[in-house]
């Protein structure tokens, strides 16, 4: 088990290191970050001054090394636009995004797992068809459009919920539904498939033959085994969702890290964008690492992988 964890940890660190290099070098795609920063109207002298101020005149690898060592100490430089340390800016905005992410994944699990189990118990029943319909529709639904429809119906027409902002828990209801619905189809399909698999297995037949009650068979023997892959999928989806919250946050004007990313990209605020790409990647890497470890802990067969 320890060997497995160390191996996975090493891989995770290597991935993190590679991602940090890519996210740093992406922003050199334009060729000259100083010119991009100064804008089209800037004179040659202005561009030159900016280049020296931010150290763009040095070799890229030197800049990367400096950035990485500062980042390891939690220092991501200063935002060009907000004139504040990027690290504290992101830390402050992450609260909203984390709240949204946790609510979203909980919403997805609470809707997807019961639906998936119910669909697996009675394949081809009405509830199975409903579950299939919800998951097919969810995979095709543009999340920004879904969000706007919710705003039109529940905020404008009915006036039940506030259309935007993050002041109270009521502001989080619609964003949670939109973000959660994005993660729901995959979780539901996996729950259904896992449950179907388990219910056809020998030990369920044995449990039934022993005379165990149906509830006990379904939940103690069945769901407990079917849920293992779902737990790790939920962790991976959580990583994806934090990265995907950028669309939801901009629809509902939730000032979280995703919204900050969008603002910073639009304003050419390089240090903030670089740091955000790295932070979102780290979340994904940490969540998948935890999912792997959890899987290996719950199912010893996975440890050899």
């Amino acid at each position: 088990m320890l060997a497995f964890i160390l191996k996975r940890l090493g891989l995770a660190l290597l991935v993190a290191f590679t991602v940090s290099f890519i996210s740093f070098s992406l922003l050199f795609l334009s060729g000259d970050p100083a010119a991009a920063l100064a804008g089209e109207t800037a004179s040659g002298e202005d561009v030159e001054a900016l280049r020296r101020l931010y150290g763009f005149d040095r070799p890229m690898l030197v800049q990367y090394g400096e950035w990485l060592f500062a980042a390891l100490r939690g220092d991501f430089g200063e935002s060009y636009y907000f004139k504040l340390p990027v690290a504290s800016l992101i830390a402050e905005r992450l609260q909203v995004t984390m709240t949204l992410g946790v609510c979203g994944i909980l919403f997805a699990l609470v809707t997807a797992v019961p639906l998936g189990v119910a669909a697996a118990i009675r394949p081809n029943s009405l509830i199975d068809r409903l579950a299939l319909f919800l998951s097919v529709a969810g995979q095709a639904m543009p999340s920004f459009w879904f969000g706007l429809i919710l705003i039109v119906v529940f905020a404008i027409q009915l006036g039940w919920l506030p259309p935007s902002g993050a002041e109270s828990w009521r502001h989080f209801i619609m964003p949670t539904i939109v973000l959660g619905y994005y993660a729901m189809p995959a979780i539901m399909r996996l729950t259904r498939a896992g449950m179907l698999d388990v219910l056809n297995s020998d030990y369920i037949r044995t449990a039934r033959a022993k005379g165990a009650g149906e509830t006990r068979v379904l939940f103690k023997h069945g769901l407990r085994n079917a849920i293992i892959p779902v737990v790790s999928l939920a962790a991976v989806q959580m990583g994806f969702m934090l990265g995907g919250s950028i669309v939801v946050e901009s629809v509902f004007a939730l000032h979280g890290a995703g919204y900050l990313a969008w603002e910073s990209i639009a304003r050419n605020d390089l240090p903030t964008v670089q740091a955000l790409i790295l932070v979102f990647s780290m979340f994904y890497i940490v969540f998948t690492f935890l999912a792997d470890v959890m899987n290996a802990w719950l199912d010893p067969r996975m440890r050899s992988a």
């Binding site: 891989l11 991935v15 991602v19 795609l29 529709a137 920004f144 039109v152 990209i265 790409i277």
Partner: protein, 298 residues
């Protein structure tokens, strides 16, 4: 004498695998719905110049936000006009071109990259496999929307840039699936036989491996096409995808957003069409998977 019209031999032979595939395909409702809707939308996209009642770029300040015909408008503009007085139906028709073009080309680019990586990893194994698996992990760790937005912002939003960025980002599922299927196929006896008779590696890959992983490849191409179309719409909605005045459905939703309070159809119509297209492509992909690999159905 095995004549197909001879009742006895026909009965002995039974339907050929090809015929069985065909009958499975025609009786699959989801697949048929998907194929018909996607076919219609492709036709609409190709014939947009003939079908569109107006020039999708022609503005008219006198006729801004005319409502659609079912909301009290006239047949002059069946789906009304937008905030610049441009005919909404015409923009919608030309928008199908943008979505389908981006979806197809991006899926092809990522398909070539992902298939090459996946097949190489599955066939050669060892170090090649380790490197490819590592690259897949790195790619999955990068937040797609964020990276795509940042790159489009730096390079400028044009159709070509959006297509290339999406094509270079969406190869992960191709690599994962192609690696797994190649791994399975390359253990078969006929691949060993080809190696024993001295067939060259490119020959084995092209004539033994590729035809056998092709079905899986087609399924992933379809699903990734839907993925690319949704991402393009999201990027354009956020203002960092296809740039105005190009008619993109995501951009139309974004332009209609400010008038949403009074004219909700400006947002509803392009979003609904986008939803139907992506739904149809997904149903087509899921259907293809069911039909080509019936043993894998749950």
């Amino acid at each position: 004498m095995t004549d197909a019209t001879d009742p006895l031999s026909a009965e002995l032979q039974g339907p050929s695998p090809r015929q069985m595939l065909k009958s499975r395909a025609f009786s699959h409702k989801g697949l048929m719905f998907g194929v018909i809707v996607v076919g219609l939308l492709v036709l609409v996209a190709l014939l947009a110049p003939l079908l569109a009642p107006h020039d999708p770029y022609a503005q008219s300040l006198m006729k801004r936000m005319v409502p659609p015909v079912f909301m009290g408008g006239t047949w002059e503009h069946p789906l009304g006009t937008d905030h610049l007085g441009r005919d909404y139906l015409s923009r919608l028709l030309y928008g199908a071109r943008v979505s389908l073009l981006i979806g197809t080309v991006a899926a092809l680019i990522s398909g070539v990259i992902g298939t090459a990586m996946g097949v190489a990893a599955g066939y050669f194994g060892g170090k090649v496999d380790a490197v490819v698996t590592f690259l897949i992990n790195v790619r999955l760790a990068m937040p797609v929307v964020l990276v795509a937005l940042a790159v489009v912002a730096i390079l400028g939003g044009s159709l070509t840039v959006v297509i290339c960025v999406l094509g270079l980002l969406l190869w992960d599922r191709f690599a994962v699936v192609m690696r797994a299927s190649t791994l399975q196929i390359s253990r078969r006896d006929y691949v060993a036989a080809a190696q024993v008779i001295g067939a060259s590696t490119p020959r084995i890959l092209l004539t033994e491996i590729m035809p056998n992983v092709f079905n899986n490849l087609i399924v992933i191409v379809t699903l990734e096409m839907a993925h690319a179309i949704l991402l393009e719409a999201a990027l354009s909605f956020l203002g960092l995808g296809v740039q105005p005045p190009t008619p993109s459905w995501g951009l139309m939703v974004s332009e209609g957003k400010n008038m949403m309070l009074f004219e909700p159809w400006l947002v509803l119509i392009p979003g609904a069409v986008l939803f139907v297209l992506v739904l149809a492509i997904n149903l087509m992909g899921d259907g293809l998977r069911d039909v080509t690999a019936p043993e894998g159905r749950s």
